[in-house]
Symmetry: D2
Subunit: 307 residues, 4 copies
C-alpha cells in the first residue's frame, strides 16, 4: 500500500509541475524568497506510516493560516463548542480571507474561525498574559503536530511590521464589541501563531489526527472525537476561504490552506495529507497543491463520501 501511495504522490507532483499559475506571496521577504518550484507532499496514514516525496524535504516553512486550526482546536477542547460559538460564527463568508467589508456589513462577529478576523478573535480568548499565551500556543502546536515546533522569528517580525490590514480588522472587532483587550497584544499572539515553522512530514500529523477522530495511530485520544468532527466540518465549508465549495467538489477532502503554500487535508478514516508549493492564487491557496490533492483523492478514492 505504501508503495502504491508513494507512486501516486510522485505522479501527482510530476503532474503539478506543469502548472505555474499563482504567485509566491510577496508581502514579506521570508515568503517572497522561497523557490517557486519547491513542491512537497507527505501523507500520514492513520496507522502511523508516513509517505513523503518532493524537493528539499528537510527545509521548513511557516504554518501561516493552517495554524488557525490550532487555536480553534485548543479553545474547543478547553472551553467547548457553546463558548466558542459565542466568539465566532461558522459560516463561509463568500468573501476573501481578510475582508473588512464583510465584517463591517455582517458583523459584529467574524463569519468563521478560518478567516483572519475569526482567528484574531479566537486569539483574544487564549487565557493569560502574552507569555502564558505563547506557552499555550506551544503546548497546542506541539500536541497537535506531535512534535516540538519553534517560531520563525524573522517571519514573526515581518508579520508584525506589515500587519496593518489585520490591525484594521482587529480594531473593527473591538469597536463593535466583538473582542476586548489590548489590540497590539492580541495581534502579537496572532502573528506568533502564524509563525510556527515545520517540515512537510511533521505537518501531516494534524490532519491525520482529525481524520482519525482525534486519535493517534497508537489509539490515544489526543483530542475529543467531537472537537475533531467540529473542526473537520469547519474546514469543509470554510478552510479554503472562498474556494472551499469548489475545492470540495474537486477533492472531497476537508482542508485548510496557508499563504506559505501549505495545504493540510484530511481523508476521513484514512490519512492526513500535507502538500506545499509557494505559488498561491489570489485567494491564498497553493495552485499546485490543489492539483495534487485532486489527483490523490481520485486515485485513492478518498472523497469524504466514499465507502
Amino acid at each position: 500500500m505504501e508503495n502504491k501511495i508513494l507512486s501516486i504522490i510522485e505522479t501527482a507532483i510530476e503532474k503539478s509541475r506543469a502548472n505555474s499559475k499563482g504567485k509566491v506571496a510577496g508581502y514579506i521577504p521570508e515568503l517572497a524568497n522561497v523557490d517557486p518550484e519547491k513542491t512537497q507532499v507527505s501523507i500520514k496514514l492513520t496507522n502511523g506510516e508516513s509517505i513523503t516525496s518532493g524537493d528539499h524535504l528537510d527545509e521548513t516553512f511557516t504554518l501561516q493560516s493552517t495554524a488557525k486550526l490550532v487555536v480553534l482546536i485548543g479553545l474547543l477542547e478547553e472551553y467547548g463548542l457553546k463558548k466558542v460559538q459565542k466568539w465566532v460564527r461558522f459560516e463561509p463568508s463568500g468573501s476573501d480571507f481578510a475582508s473588512i467589508a464583510r465584517l463591517d456589513q455582517f458583523g459584529p462577529y467574524p463569519s468563521n474561525p478560518m478567516l483572519n478576523a475569526g482567528a484574531i478573535s479566537l486569539c483574544s480568548h487564549i487565557p493569560g498574559d502574552f507569555e502564558s499565551q505563547l506557552r499555550w500556543l506551544e503546548k497546542w502546536v506541539n500536541k497537535l503536530f506531535n512534535s516540538k515546533l519553534s517560531i520563525d522569528q524573522k517571519v514573526f517580525a515581518s508579520e508584525r511590521r506589515t500587519g496593518d490590514r489585520n490591525r484594521s480588522l482587529a480594531y473593527l472587532l473591538k469597536s463593535n464589541g466583538a473582542i476586548k483587550g489590548n489590540i497590539e497584544e492580541i495581534l502579537e499572539t496572532y502573528f506568533l501563531l502564524c509563525s510556527f515553522k515545520t517540515t512537510i512530514e511533521v505537518s501531516a500529523y494534524l490532519p491525520m489526527l482529525l481524520a482519525n477522530q482525534g486519535k493517534s495511530p497508537d489509539n490515544q485520544q489526543i483530542i475529543s472525537k467531537e472537537t475533531a468532527q467540529i473542526t473537520l466540518a469547519i474546514m469543509t465549508t470554510c478552510g479554503i476561504y472562498n474556494e472551499s465549495g469548489t475545492h470540495l467538489v474537486h477533492t472531497g477532502l476537508p482542508a485548510k490552506s496557508g499563504v506559505s503554500g501549505i495545504i493540510l487535508a484530511s481523508a476521513i478514516r484514512k490519512a492526513g495529507i500535507a502538500v506545499m508549493n509557494p505559488r498561491v492564487n489570489a485567494k491564498g491557496t497553493s495552485t499546485r497543491g490543489q492539483i495534487i490533492l485532486e489527483h490523490i483523492s481520485k486515485e485513492l478514492d478518498w472523497h469524504f463520501a466514499s465507502i
Copy 2:
C-alpha cells in the same frame, strides 16, 4: 436496529415540538395554509428499509428548493461536471437564497446551484422545448425518488404569479450573458421543478441514493458515484444556504432545505433522511427540522466524519 431508529426519531420529534421559532412561508396560500404543528420524519436505510413517524404521513407537500438537486443531478449525469461548471459555480455565497446583490456584484455566473439563480440557470440548460423539459423533469424526479410524482398545479400557478424576484434574477442572468433564451419559459420550467409533490417517506429516497454512492438498495447504479459525490459536496457547502456551515457543525450531514419545510439529508453509507415542518427561519430552513437532524445524527453517530 429499526426499532432503535424509530425510537430515536420519535424522541427527536417530541423534542422538536417545544420549538415554535420560524414562520410558515406566507408568500403563496398553498404554503401559508399548512398546519404549523405538522411534523414528519422518514429515514430510508441503504438496505432499503424505511422508518417513518409523525403527523398525517400520507399528506403531500411540494419539494420546493430540494428539487434543485434533481436538475443538478440530471444535468451532471447527462452533460458531465465540465459542462455544468461552465453554467454555475460551486461556492457558498455568504448571502441569502435569492440575493440579487450578490449576483450583481460577483456574477455573471450564479455562486452555486442551490441558490435560486443557480437553479434557474441550470433550468435554462434542460434540453428541448417546454414540453420536453417537463418530461425531462418528470423522468429525473421519478428516477431519483423511485416513484411517480406529480405537479401540484395550484402551487405552480401561485409560484408563477408571485415570482417577480425570480424574474429579476433571471433577467439579470440574461443581461450578463449567463443564460440565453426566453425568460418566461425558463421560469415556467423552474416553477414546475419547485411544484412536484410527494410524501415524507418517498422524499427520503433521493438522499439515500446519494449516501449510497448512487446505488439503490438492491445495488443498481441509478446515478454514477461521481455524480453522487459531487452533489453531496455541493449540499455540504451550499445546501442550507447561508446556514450551511453552522448546519454542518451541528449535524455533520450534507443536506438541502426547501421553503415548504422539508430538509433532505444524507448520512454517508447509512441512510437518507427527510424531515418536514412548515415553520422556516428567515433563511428558509425548517427550525424543527434542524433540531431533529441534530438529534438523529448525534444519537446514531452519523456525522460524515464518523468511522
Copy 3:
C-alpha cells in the same frame, strides 16, 4: 457678450478634441454608429439668445437619460414633492446608474430619480394607459424643450430588445412593492422616454428653464420655481451618477448626462448649456462634454456659488 461666449465655446470644443478617452456606447447600433468625433455645444441664455457651435448641428440624437428630467419635472408639477418623495428617494447612491446590488441592499425604493431604477419607478406613476402615457410624455417633452420632439423608432426598438438589465431592475422594484402594474408596459414607457430625439440647440432650452427658475425668456412661468429648484438640487447631487461630486467640484454646474453623449447643465440665473460628444466613460458621461463644461464655467465664472 454673444461673441465672447461663441469664442469661449469654440476654444472649449477645440481643447476637447485632443481628448479621445471614453467609448461610443455599443449596446445598440443606433448609438454605436455615431461618429466619435462629432462634438456640439449650444448655450441658451436666459434672455433667449442661442449660441451654438460644432459639427453637423442639424443632426439629431436621442435624449437618453437626460429625459429622466422630463418625467421628474412632470410628476413634480402634477403631484407635488410630497407624493414624488414617496416613490423615490433623492440620495446619490455611490453606485453606477444601473446598479441592482444597490437597490437590493438599500431598497425597496430607488436611491434617486436620475438612476434607471428611479426613472422606471417614476414612469410607473405617469397617469393612464400606454397611449395616455405616450401623450403625457409628448406634452411634457414639448413643453420643457419648447419644441415638438418625436420618438426615434429605431432606438426605441433597440432599447426594448436589449433592456434585460432594466427588466431585472423593474421586477426587483415590483417584488419589493416599490412599484405596481405590468412591468413590460412600464418599461415600454421608460424606453419611449429615452428615445425622444432632438438637436443640440433645442436641448439647451430645458436647462435654461431650470437656471431661470422655471421661466421662459419672455418671463412666462413654464414650471414652478419650486419644481425648478428641486430639480436642480437633484441634478447637483445625482445628475452625473457616481461622478456627480467630482463634476460639481470641477464645473460648479448642476447637470444631467445621457449615454448618447449629451450633457445638459444649468448656469444659475445665466443660461442652459447642452454639450454632445458620443464618447462616454465607464460611468456613462461624455468625457469631452466634461472638458467643455469645465472650460465654459471657468471662463464665464458660472459656478453656482459665483456672485
Copy 4:
C-alpha cells in the same frame, strides 16, 4: 432686515421644539450630557451683522465633523486642488460617515473629505510633527472662524479613548497605501481637530466666508474664491453624509453637520448659518437643525438656485 431675520429664526426655533426625533450622541460623556432641549441659531450676514437666538448662547460645543472643513480648506489653500485630489476623492459615498465596508470595496482612497476616512487621510498631510500640526490647525481654525478657539481637553481625551472605529479606518487606509506614517499620531491630530470648541455665533463665520466667495465682510480675501467654491461644492454633495441629497432638496443650502448637533450652512451671497441641537439622527445630523434650516431657507428664499 435684521428684525425680519430674527423673527424668522425665532419662529424656526419654536417650530423645531416640537421635534424630539434623534438622540444625543452617547459614545462619550461630554456629548451625552448636553441638554437635549438646547437649541441655538446664529446667522452671520455677508455684511458682517450677526443675528443670534436660542438657549444659553454663551455655552460652547465642539466642532466635531464640521471641523473637517478646516483641514480641507487649509490644505486646498496651501497645496492646491491638484494635490488634494490625489489624497481623497470628492464623491458622495452612499454609505455612512464611518463606513469601513465602503472603503474596503471602493478604496484605496476615501470617497470624500467629509467622511471620517477622508478627514483622517487629509490630517496625515498636515505638514510637520505633532506640535507643528497642532499649530497649523490653530492657525486655520482661528483664521476661518475669525476667533481664537481652544481645544476641549476632555472631549479630546474621550475621542482618543473611544476611537477604535477610526483606528480601523486609519489602518485600512495605511494597509492600502492611501496614507503613510504613524497611525496613532495621525489620529491624535484628527481627534484634536474634532475637539475645538466654540459658540454658536462664532461658528457662523466660516459658512459666511464660503458664501461670500472667501471674503470677510470688510472685503478682505481670507481664502481664495476657488477654495471657497470647491469647498461649497463638496459640502453640497457630501456635507450631510448619506442625507446630502435629501438635505439639498429641502433646503438648497450647502452644509456640513457634526455629531455635537451643529450644522454649518452657506446661503450663497447672503450669509453663513449655524444651528445647534444635540439630538442627532442615525446618520449623525441634528434633526431640529434640519427643520430650522429648511424654514429659514424657504422664508428668506436662500436656495442656491434663487435669483
